[in-house]
Amino acid sequence: MRNRLKVLRAEHGWTQQDLGDRLGVSRQAVNALETEKHDPSLDLAYRIAAVFGRPVEDIFDNPHA
């Protein structure tokens, strides 16, 4: 799923490990999200939105819109 995760993470100066720690997932999971090798669950998408303080739609493109 296309997303702005890498850009947002860079804006915060976080490594993939930093973001993974904040989300409660592995660095590999963050990498998979950024490279579109994993579509997040609704729960993880909301956790990501909460970490960046933005709505989910600002971070992930809705593939069905």
């Binding site: 720690d21 989300l23 409660g24 592995s26 590999q28 998979a32 090798k37």
Partner: protein
């Protein structure tokens, strides 16, 4: 919230310890069998031995499921995909070999070989399965 790195490390440490324990038991029984330790144990003990050697196999599957339960959603999906593909290939090879034995005079291979075959296939397919889709 538990840190992912610590969570992952703990889950993998537990998995490694469990794997060493179960695989150690499995290898010890097989090593004893290879050296002929069970050649004259009799029918009843031989049947019981089959159940004993199955215990670490079942334990290892439990350890893998426990690792999946303690991993994040991406790692869980990867493990599940790799497990399914390796299982499917192992079953396909076992079925093919069984028919080759029955109808093609292929040499006999013991059924327990499916277990090391499965893990060998798991190792082979893992580098190629890198997405959760």
């Amino acid at each position: 919230m538990e840190l992912a790195s610590a969570k992952g490390t703990n889950a993998h440490k537990k998995y490694l310890l469990r794997t060493m324990a179960f695989m150690g038991g499995y290898v010890a029984i097989n090593a004893a069998a290879i050296t002929g330790a069970f050649d004259d144990i009799g029918r009843t003990a031989g049947l019981a031995l089959g159940l004993v050697v199955a215990a670490p196999v079942a334990g290892q599957i439990w350890a893998t499921l426990a690792l999946m339960g303690e991993s994040d959603e991406f790692m869980r999906a990867l493990l599940a995909k790799r497990f399914i593909v390796a299982s499917g290939l192992a079953m396909a090879i076992a079925c093919a070999w069984g028919f080759m034995e029955s109808y093609g005079d292929a040499p006999h291979v013991p059924a327990w070989m499916i277990y090391p075959l499965f893990w060998a296939l798991f190792g082979i397919v893992s580098p190629f399965i890198r997405t959760s889709r």
